[in-house]
Symmetry: C2
Subunit: 411 residues, 2 copies
């Protein structure tokens, strides 16, 4: 029988059944606090007494819990499961519930550093074809290395934060010189973000890396394709990816996702021992991208699954540490864009519209090659269980017009 | 007449005359504390009373002073100059001096995020020639964009910290598959690091960026060339640059360097307005690289000058913020390797030995293509004034053998 909660909204149509129990930071008018989503409610961790050190929840971020380590993570999850499923706790715990409706969500953790990987083979092949031609689509190292680059932690924002269209250097193939102006090819990237919950120094095995991962969020790595194509050689994407990276507000723990483990696709080239993974390294998480232009209903433009990734977060983390790079509590690892093999399973507009050549229908007679001002983009993710699903809550952002150019930036 | 100090060692042969007054964090046995270098002494900022809020110096990092802003920076420097030059303060201030000899230095500030630029034209041309051939040496965007990529803040260490030779994926041009082992082409990069002392959100002009820069350090961006050449396409350097980045222990303030302002080389292509700089954006700082193999005296292998850079730190910072990327107090911006036009002015072994083809003599009948185990690398920088110089103190690191491969990482 499926475990149920005495919080009735947790037993029906919800991303947050008692099997999930994700961690976020909410503000219901008393300042930001740590909370746990259950149905349409939030358990206020600064109010409920469960026998844990209050200091764990004394700052509005889950970093202290992460620092406390995997044994504490397991104890906390077990206790939360107990008090939210066992009716006898209702009287004591119900007063610590806050309705989700109307609260303001904050980043669930202090992002130490942000790294973005490139682990979707369909995505890498599609983008490579458009940027470098079909014969050079997949880079020679791609099947050997979980390719990644360092991003900018200061630009990570929580779902719901508006994003201004970026300004940047743009240069068409026939232009002599670049100009400075609003990106005309502003895009999303549908990704999963892994949250590193334990530090390391020195080499880390894939098995150790698994133990270091606290949980996952949905992640939209906003990307200015025109800035990117001019700037990215030879040192990689920089300002094209620095405007914002939006994450969903709840950290879904690795423990909650454990029932949904899934095998990565078969290796197409032998993998070095330090990257070999025993057992299934991915999760079966159905993902979708929706878009809503100003004042209109949303349209789903892509459906895919986390299983389309070639490299797992644990493999990425093991590689990240391989040169001796110290990893920190609060590091965020973007998976790379998750595209499937079909057109309607592509995780970016660049791929969906094939570089703007095949605009995507978004309903109401409208179509999109790239994002237009006042469009809202929504990512969703759900792992389907038996009689419930584990969801992430939406990861949304509305694109506002670019800031006006100050005089000193005008020609 | 040149201003002198009542600290006699500050008036002779020293990097730290009263004209300098750089900021560091030292431990003389009582834990790490904020201090100011003067001659061969350190003024303990937690002991001396100068009329500033003690909270500014209550943690062992200069971030709080940076956060306090440029007016405080100017007041603090004026007061320090007064009390260390005016004999009448000797009795009050001398008891707060600690000899530099024997103290352990720590990072002078909490590094928020680390970005590495590529602003040396001779370096970019040399490396481009070796990696991509002479016809593709300087990337097409290089004269328009201060090219940079995000590095890893967790790997920034203070001068004197030993560095283990990194492990990583290595693949020769004729190998079918990569192997995992110690880098055979481990290298230095001679750079200046700019320390961002004020935050921003949204666009920043070059003039505003100037005001945000608190000071400078010497910076050695250790680089594994063999890891880099296999991994860096298409998303840039990652593990090749993640082992360590060493900075000198004292932040030399922008104010102390002001008398040494120097023009950047003439523009070879028109620059977009948002990157235009009024007045000289660089500093005349003589730089050198020395190497000492185990138990031997050091040999200087390169001499160059910060004036060889094409882009200033203020231009880099303005570009960094151009897409809306929020900048933070404690951001560290590496200049890129500073090479001059001649062979003996190149800031990396890759260039000095031309990819290993022309090993460099280091004295005692030895030569180097790349770093060998137990070599110590030393960077130095000095701006020559009238009767004094402003120096950075050495930026050193000894390379230790790679960590042994654990069984799980062996073939």
């Amino acid at each position: 029988m499926t475990l149920a909660s005495w919080v009735e909204s947790a037993n029906g149509d919800t991303d947050f059944p008692v099997q999930n129990l994700p961690y976020g930071v909410f503000d219901a008018g008393l300042g930001p606090r740590c909370g746990v989503a259950i149905g349409d409610q939030i358990l206020d961790m600064t109010e409920v007494e469960l026998g844990f050190e209050p200091e764990l929840f004394s700052e509005p971020a889950w970093n202290r819990v992460m620092e406390a380590g995997p044994a504490l993570w397991a104890d906390l999850r077990a206790k939360l499961t107990e008090v939210l499923s066992d009716e006898s706790y209702r009287e004591r715990v119900a007063p610590c519930l806050v309705p989700q409706q109307g609260v303001k969500m904050h980043l669930p953790f202090r992002v130490a550093e942000y790294t973005d990987f490139y682990a979707g083979k369909h995505h890498a092949t599609n983008v490579g074809t458009m940027f470098r031609g079909a014969e050079n689509a997949l880079p020679p190292n791609w099947l050997s290395i979980p390719i990644g680059y360092n991003g900018r932690a200061s630009s990570v924002v929580v779902s719901g934060t508006p994003v201004h269209r970026p300004l940047g250097q743009l240069k068409g193939p026939d232009d002599d010189l670049p100009r400075f102006g609003p990106s005309q090819r502003f895009d999303i990237e549908l990704e999963m973000g892994a949250v590193v919950g334990q530090p390391s120094s020195g080499l880390v095995s894939v098995a150790q890396a698994e133990e270091m991962i606290f949980g996952y969020v949905l992640l939209n790595d906003w990307s200015a394709r025109d800035i990117q194509s001019w700037e990215y050689q030879p040192l990689g994407p920089f300002q094209a990816k620095a405007t914002a990276t939006t994450i969903s507000p709840w950290i879904v723990t690795a423990a909650a996702l454990e029932p949904f483990r899934a095998e990565a696709p078969p290796r197409e080239r032998p993998v070095l021992p330090y990257l070999r993974q025993e057992g299934p390294g991915l999760y079966d998480i159905a993902l979708e991208v929706a878009i809503a232009s100003a004042g209109r209903d949303e349209t789903v433009i892509a459906r895919t699954n986390m299983r389309e990734l070639y490299w797992s977060a644990a493999q990425q983390l093991a590689h990240h540490a391989s040169s001796g790079c110290p990893m920190r509590v609060g590091d965020l690892l973007g998976s790379g864009t998750i595209s499937g093999p079909t057109r309607d399973s592509r995780g970016s507009l660049l791929e969906l519209s094939w570089g703007g050549k095949e605009p995507v229908e978004i309903g109401g007679g409208q179509s999109r090659s790239f994002i237009e001002d006042n469009d809202t983009l929504i990512l969703r993710g759900q792992a389907q269980g038996d009689g419930y699903w584990v969801g992430f809550g939406p990861c949304t952002g509305t694109v506002l017009p670019a800031a006006p150019l100050p005089d000193w930036a005008k020609e």
